[in-house]
C-alpha cells in the first residue's frame, strides 16, 4: 500500500492529478482511492488530494501515514507535510516553496512550475509534470497506465503537450 498526498493551492490542478493517479492504478489492476479536502476558504488557499494505492481492498480512504507528499506551495508544505515520517518523500516545487522541514531525509527539490513555463509556455501543465515526477520516483503506477489515464482525462487537442509534460516530470527526477 502506498499513500500519497498531493497538495498545493486551489488552482493548481492537484485534484485532477490525484484522480489520474488513481485511475492509472486501476488500469494496473490495483485498488485505489482518491479523496480531497478543501474549505470554502480554499479558493486560492491550501488544498490537498490524497491517493491510496494497494493490491488489496482499501478500507480507510484517508492518508494516515503518507509515503509521499507533493507540495506545490509553501502553505502546503507547512500544512500538509507534518505527518510525513522521516523517511517519507517530500517533493516540492521550488518555484513557490522556499523552506522545508529539517527532519526530512528524502526531499526532492523540483523547479516544476518554472520548468513547465519555460518549456511548454504555460504553468497549466505543472500538475502533469508533478505526476511524471511522482511516478518516476515511486513507481506507484506504470508509465503506460499513467499515460493512458492522462490522455483519458485531458481535453482533446492537448494530448501531445500533456505527454511532453509527463516526460518533463519523469526527466526532472531522472536527473
Amino acid at each position: 500500500m502506498i499513500e500519497m498526498r498531493l497538495s498545493g493551492s486551489g488552482g493548481q490542478g492537484l485534484i485532477l492529478a490525484g484522480i489520474i493517479l488513481a485511475e492509472a492504478a486501476l488500469l494496473d489492476g490495483k485498488m485505489a482511492i482518491q479523496s480531497q479536502s478543501y474549505g470554502p476558504e480554499a479558493r486560492g488557499g491550501a488544498s490537498k488530494s490524497e491517493v491510496i494505492i494497494s493490491e488489496k481492498a482499501i478500507h480507510y480512504p484517508k492518508v494516515t501515514k503518507p509515503n509521499l507528499v507533493l507540495a506545490m506551495t509553501q502553505e502546503a508544505v507547512d500544512k500538509y507535510s507534518k505527518d510525513l515520517p522521516a523517511d517519507g518523500i517530500l517533493m516540492i516545487d521550488t518555484t513557490f516553496v522556499k523552506k522545508v522541514p529539517d527532519h526530512l531525509k528524502n526531499v526532492y527539490h523540483l523547479p516544476i512550475t518554472e520548468k513547465v513555463t519555460a518549456e511548454l509556455g504555460k504553468a497549466l501543465f505543472a500538475n502533469i509534470v508533478a505526476l511524471g515526477a511522482i511516478v518516476a520516483t515511486t513507481k506507484a503506477v506504470s508509465v503506460e497506465s499513467i499515460t493512458t489515464a492522462i490522455l483519458h482525462r485531458v481535453p482533446k487537442g492537448t494530448e501531445d503537450i500533456n505527454k511532453r509534460a509527463l516526460e518533463l516530470g519523469i526527466a526532472l527526477v531522472a536527473k
Binding site: G44, T95, F96, E114
Partner: protein
C-alpha cells in the same frame, strides 16, 4: 508620489496591470504585483480603484 503594494494581498489577477494607462505595473515570476516603472505613474489611481484585493495604493505627494 508613492505606489505601495501589499504582496500578501495581491492575487496576481492582472487587473491593475491591464487598466494602468501608463504601463507602470507588471506581475513578477510568482505572479505577484510589481512596479515596473514608477516614474511613468500619473497617480490616476485606476489601479487602486480597480484592485479587488486592496493590494495597491497610490499616494499623491
Amino acid at each position: 508620489m508613492a505606489i505601495k503594494t501589499i504582496g500578501k494581498h495581491c492575487k496576481g489577477c492582472g487587473v491593475c496591470v491591464t487598466f494602468c494607462p501608463k504601463q507602470v505595473l507588471g506581475l513578477d515570476a510568482l505572479g505577484k504585483i510589481t512596479v515596473v516603472d514608477e516614474t511613468k505613474c500619473i497617480t490616476c489611481k485606476q489601479c487602486e480603484m480597480r484592485c479587488p484585493d486592496y493590494a495597491i495604493f497610490v499616494e499623491k505627494k
